[in-house]
Every structure is written in structure tokens, then in C-alpha cells.
Amino acid sequence: MRSVACGDGDAFAALYDIVAAPVLGVVRAVLRDMAQSEEVAQEVLVEMWRTAPRYRPERGTVMNWVLTLAHRRAIDRVRSVAAAAARDHKAALLDQVPEYDEVTEQVEHRLEREQVRRCLRTLTELQRQSVTLAYYRGLTYREVAAQLSVPLGTVKTRLRDGLIRLRDCLGVSA
């Protein structure tokens, strides 16, 4: 990444190979539509190049940085009026991490996938639904509360409690 930050295109290509699949994955989880997802993912990856000199390692790994950016951009897109109108809200309730074509699944991500599935199962039903609706569907906590017919305060605490459990189960440190 320091090479990327210094304008090294080869280093950027190497970084692309590491982050592109998770970036496209999270954008597609939120947007659903593959064409739009590719468009947003490309914007994110170009943004990663453009802003690399401003990346601050003390704020987290490159992967966290770019995936946070990808999720944010996907959310921005989905919350824009046009996208929201075209979106299928009814398909929003998630039971688990979305299943995608096995063909497109990268082998090296299978381990993470299994680990995340396992850890999601340690959450309460309400925690899991809150976290997955918010993250994978890009709903605000207010929308999550409406979907699940629970009070706003409950959703806030379930999101936090769910993330605490996930964090501990996944062994994540900042």
C-alpha cells in the first residue's frame, strides 16, 4: 500500500487482486443488481487509488478501509431516491449470509464465509436479523425496526450487542 500511495500501478494491481472480490461482494449484497454493483465497485476501487496517499494505517487495515468505503458507497446508492424506488423491499428478510453462485465463489474466502456463518448462528434471532438487514441490505436502524416491528431503541441495542458477539466470536481487534 505504501507503493500504491506513492503512485505504483503494479502495487495497485496486486492490491486490486486482494480486495476486488470482497468489494464487489459487499456492494452486490446491498444493491442486488450486478450491473450497478460492478459500476459502484469500480468507483470504489478507483477511489482507493486516488485517495491512497491519504490512507492512515493507524485507523485500521487497508482491507477494512476499502470495505468500509465500499459499503458506504453502496448505501449511498441505495438510499438515493431513484435506486430506492427500483429496489425490491419485499425480498429483504434474510435468514443467513446470502448464497451466491458457487462458480463465482473464491476459494480463499470460503474459510471466512464458514466462520461468519458459524458466528452469526451464535447471535439471537433478533440480533442476527438486525445486523444482516442493516449491513447486507443497507437498511437504516429505523427501517430495520419497521421491518421487524420492534422499538427503535431495541434495534440500536441489538445491533450493538450483535456486533459485540460477532466481534468476540470472530476474534476481531481494531
Partner: protein, 249 residues
Amino acid sequence: MTTADTDPHTLTGAYALHALPDEERARFTRHLSTCGSCADEVAEFTATAAKLAVAVAVTPRPAMRQDVLRRVAAIRQLPPPTRPPRPAGTYRRRLPRLALAACMAVAAGLGGIAVREHGRAEDAATEAQQARQRTDELVAVLGAPDAASRRVPLDGGADATVVVSSARDKAVWMTSGLTAPPAGRVYQLWYDVDGTMRSAGLMDAGRTDRAVVLAGSANSASAVGITIEPAGGSTRPTTTPLALVTLPA
């Protein structure tokens, strides 16, 4: 109203998942700047969310890679935020240390990701290693206590910067906004040694924005020149230099 509705600390989860409406997000962002434990928790939750993203990874079409790399080749990067505004024209000064530190500090992040999260760790580590070796020499010159730089404008809005360290007897050449050379041609760099041009190496034709450490002794030269030469380079300049930059004393 429940406590959860009023206590801002409980919003860390919603914040990290981008689940706050804009105005609440802005309010909580302000709160974060005064709440260290909240910021720590948000950082951990953000890292947790990244795991959720990796779990749904989808391999992009190969065409997307080509598209992105092509777009990136035409886009100039933002300067590091710590860099002071650059005076116009030729000048001499120490390189900003913070900007350099920003370039140097990031490698650990890339290596860490590669090893922890990916099967292709070995390839990525090798790449990172090569990149590190490439930049080590560069960094040694740029970071030398006696490093001095001079920047000159080139045609077409491009500019060239030479950084020299007498202690290391080396110079680094950097250009910004320089267009690729015509097909079958390369940019060749020269040291002016007592009026004689000595080759100091070629620039990668596709990578004109990449900094290069000049080959040979910087201390014996008075200036650095750049010419367009046939592929493979020449033993003497065959074209008029695009620029001749006097080395900073």
C-alpha cells in the same frame, strides 16, 4: 423513551454498519470526537463488518480488472493531506517528512491483510517484498537528512522534481502528469557531468509517474536531463532535452 433512545453510546453499532440516517450520523460523528471508548468500539465494529463483507466476496469479471487498471492509469492521486502548498516554479527545500512517512508506513497494512485473510498470501507477500525492495533505495534518498529537491515545470502542465542526497551520492527523479512516450520510444534520463551527458537510466514507458533512482554518482553531476530516445535507450542523447534540471546544491 428508553435509555437506548437517549444514550448516544448505544449508537456505535448502527454507526459502524452505516445504519444511521444522515442527521443522526452527523450528530454521532461529533460525539465520537469526544468519546474515546466509543471510537474504539466503532473501530472494532468496523473491522467486524469487514469480515461480513469478505464472507460474501464475489469474483469480478476479468474485464472489470482491466477497466479499473485502465481508469487508474489516467487518474492522478490526491496529495497527502499534510503536504504544504507548493510554491510555483523552481525552488529548493527539504521534502515534507510527513508525506514521506505516509508513503512508507502503509506496507505493513498490505502485508498483514495478505497473510491473514487470503490464500494468495504468498504471491502478495512476494509482490510486497519486491515493491519494498524497489522503494527502499528510493526511501533512503528521499529520507536522507540532507535531501534537497528542485521542481521545474515541463510542457503540457507536467512537472519534474529531482531530489538529491549528497551524503548518499544518489538522486531521485519524479515526474507528474508526463504523458507516455510515443510508441517505440522511451524517456531516458541523463546526468550532466562537466558538459557531457551520461545515461542515468530509462523510465518505464507505461509508468511515467513512478519515481526512479538515477543510476550513477549524483555528486559528480551538475544537472539531470530527460530526452526521448528509441526503445532500449541511447548512449548519447539523440534529441533535444525536454528539460535540464540543475541539481540543488
